[in-house]
């Protein structure tokens, strides 16, 4: 059985042996995996986070139903401030700073933005060109589950990345 000789440190794994046994190394690797899993659970946003983002986006889109530029400007300002506050609270809750975006999560985010843009464009076309009432309201309602779905997808990718140790 291979063993790696080292000097004993003050808090070795199994009672301070001067060699590292494979069982001890496996235990250390297991502990690393445990911390990674704990970190993933802590970093992943709670359910209210994506729901709140969805409600903010949905509210801003649905407000366009009022056909008021002043209200629209206020809703955009509220959306921006709300998103910033949510991200700040979530970052404080997790207590870490990290690069959330890699190629996969960036693609999901781009997909979310593109989907919302398409939703808004269709609502504009229906409401302004076709005179269909309630298009913005419907788009706003649809934006909430979309935000939840894209948010969960991002969380799953982030969790997989953390567990893989990347």
């Amino acid at each position: 059985m291979p063993r790696l000789s080292i000097m004993a440190s003050e808090e070795d794994w199994a009672g301070a042996p001067a060699e590292i046994a494979p069982e001890e190394a496996a235990s250390a690797i297991s502990a690393i995996g445990g911390r990674r899993s704990w970190l993933a659970d802590r970093i992943i946003a709670p359910g209210w986070y994506h729901l709140s983002l969805g409600l903010l986006a949905g509210g801003a889109i649905a407000e366009a139903e009022m056909h008021s530029w002043v209200l629209f400007a206020w809703s955009v300002a509220a959306y921006t401030a709300g998103c910033s506050a949510l991200m700040w609270v979530n970052q404080r809750r997790a207590g870490v700073t990290m690069k959330y975006f890699d190629a996969c999560t960036r693609a999901v985010f781009a997909g979310h933005v593109l989907t919302l843009s398409t939703l808004i464009a269709v609502a504009c076309w229906l409401e302004v060109d076709r005179g269909t009432r309630g298009a913005f309201l419907a788009a706003g309602v649809l934006a909430v589950p979309l935000a939840l779905a894209f948010g969960r997808c991002t969380d799953n990718l982030l969790r997989a990345r953390l567990l893989a140790g990347r």
Binding site: M1, P2, R3, L4, I6, M7, S9, E10, E11, D12, W13, I20, P22, E23, A25, A26, S27, A28, I29, S30, A31, I32, G33, R35, R36, W38, L39, R42, I43, A94, G95, V96, T97, M98, K99, L162, G165
Partner: protein, 111 residues
């Protein structure tokens, strides 16, 4: 590219290994977050942080926010290299022993 396996006594102590495991996944982490992750007292964590800091493995940042001091920790390049090398060494030991599924609890020798 996988890092060169190099056993590191400083990193190997259980609490310090777990501190490095947390910090290696993020840019920085609050002192309180790392303490919660390890489930140890502030004094215990401070002792290990001092050892890692003196070895040049972690940086300690202090920022005052609303009259409260927030301490955040991050791995240095040397610390990241030491941790990666240490994990590679551990995997090498486990791999040489014919362990399977080493990331899932204690392994059992294959033969």
């Amino acid at each position: 590219m996988s890092p060169a396996a190099r056993f590191d006594e400083i990193v190997h102590a259980p609490n310090r290994l777990q501190i490095c495991a947390i910090l290696s996944a993020v840019d920085s982490a609050d002192f309180a977050t790392v303490r919660d992750g390890l489930g140890v007292a502030d004094s215990v964590l401070s002792k290990h942080i001092r050892i890692l800091h003196e070895a040049g493995y972690i940086e300690v940042h202090k920022a005052t926010c609303a009259s409260r001091v927030r301490t955040s920790l991050s791995l240095t390049a040397a610390g990241r290299a030491a941790y990666d090398g240490h994990v590679a060494a551990l995997r090498s030991i486990v791999g040489n022993a014919g362990f399977r599924g080493s990331s899932r609890g204690r392994g059992v020798p294959a033969g």
